[in-house]
Symmetry: C2
Subunit: 256 residues, 2 copies
């Protein structure tokens, strides 16, 4: 039975899409079968994995709003060397979904219901979320077993955590009682920033053993890779970014 | 009559709050009277300007949802050396505002109406927005004369632009016919990233003369300053970040 992770943080630009793409790619390269679902209307995870969004006819919008089966929308990645990695893409069509979902039946469970049909075909399902706590993120949290929370090693990133935890607890109470925090991932670590260590200490103080041992460093190759539509393990396998995501992949395989 | 700017981009982490805080601070130091309004529930601009959110009793929530006058909520910054800089803060209370606003009368005009009362008392009013295109951002766009669009010099940042422009055009057509793009601000420029120049060329090709000449470099001091609650012109006035925001301030004074 596939384990479902939602990559969530309403703070913008903390590395959600970068984590979703590179974790999915590393899990595939490690021989796991993976489905990545892009629930952000900007579609960064879709293009970061190498898809040309102008050629995509059906996306997560059709699944959530029209009830199309995931099997009819999922596509294999353009990188066969990654093994079994499929994606449910997002296009601009998704921009109107939150407004449309508000008045629909079982609006918070549409992702969960859609994924149930195909869950057994994958070892891992990774959901990339937009930088907000609206219905798209709520759908991902309701469908997930675990939440991966990327946190940038910068001061502003600490401020939204209580709101995020409140939302996770509300979902756990009303929509998905099995939801847990799978792990907190420290990202964009730059040893030169004198606050980085303080942020790390504060996050470890707050989340204790739920913080992944792997820390993702700030690494220019990670920000270049999406421009070539290749995950980091294909764009620059010997970079610090590739090593870090590979180490995260091992942690996730070992204990989620 | 104060000129109102909304700092908007639904892509997360592009430097919206950093731009709002530092532009407001530089305009104040240049002798202008400034009101900064934080419309993001994370309240980064509020803490970045030095406020302790736990001590704030009233915020933009009370203005938008309860109709409290701005004059009763606005606070002077804790930095008298900035001159006349006031802020309408945001606290966690704002997190529920978008849901509450959906069913309210003239829900898109509440910010515009609130600012009309005090607009004559300031030279500039700067609105920081959350990373989404929901009702809080729509309120800011409806109230604004001009939009400042920060764009990170990275690949992913280019993807959401068409959605942003669509939203600006919709607001211009239905809610605020005078709305213009005041300027596009290139942020976090890092000459070592081989894509940065391509992003700049693409943005200049698309927006032509609406791109500010000032480019904000990636500068560690900018990410440290919020941890000390001080804008960059007080935290490290000789840094590249401070020079860049001062140059932006001059451009905004000269022609918005
Ligand atoms: N470790 C890293 N080192 C350097 N750059 C990074 C790193 N991780 C992500 N980036 C870059 O930083 C930017 C923000 O990352 P990303 O888009 O993955 O964040 P996000 O949380 O998904 O953003 P959003 O909130 O808009 O969805 C992107 O341009 C990305 O390429
Ligand atoms: N020019 C810069 N150089 C280095 N760091 C920067 C720069 N501008 C902003 N930062 C840092 O990058 C992070 C993102 O910036 P900021 O929070 O201002 O973006 P934002 O667009 O307001 O994010 P959100 O979408 O969450 O509102 C912050 O930690 C900030 O301190
Ligand atoms: Mg993203
Ligand atoms: Mg912000």
């Amino acid at each position: 039975m596939g384990r479902i992770f939602a990559v969530v943080n309403q703070k913008g630009g903390v590395g959600k899409s970068t984590t979703a793409v590179n974790l999915a790619a590393c899990l595939g390269a490690a021989g796991k079968s993976v489905l990545m679902v892009d629930t952000d209307p900007q579609g960064n995870a879709t293009s970061g994995m190498g898809f040309d969004k102008s050629e995509i006819k059906k996306c997560i919008y059709n699944v959530l709003v029209e009830g199309l089966p995931v099997a009819e929308v999922a596509l294999p990645t353009p990188h066969p060397e990654l093994g079994t990695v499929f994606i449910v893409p997002a296009t601009i069509q998704l921009a109107g979904a939150e407004v449309e979902l508000v008045s629909m039946m079982s609006r918070e469970y549409r992702m969960k219901t859609a994924l149930e049909e195909i869950r057994d075909q994958f070892d891992f399902i990774i959901l990339d979320c937009p930088p907000s706590l609206g219905l798209l993120t709520i759908n991902a949290l309701t469908a997930a077993d675990g939440v991966i929370v990327p946190i940038q090693c910068e001061y502003y990133a600490l401020e939204g955590l209580s709101q995020l935890l409140d939302t996770i607890n509300l979902v756990k109470k009303h929509l998905n009682k099995n939801l847990e925090i799978a792990g907190v991932l420290l990202t964009m670590y730059d040893a030169r920033t004198n606050l980085a260590q303080q942020v790390i200490d504060e996050v470890r103080g707050y989340f204790a053993d739920r913080v992944y041992r792997t820390i993702i460093p700030r690494n220019i190759r990670l920000s270049e890779a999406p421009g070539y539509g290749r995950p980091i393990n294909l764009y620059d396998p010997s970079s610090k970014g590739a090593e870090a995501y590979d180490s995260l992949c091992q942690e996730v395989i070992k204990h989620g």
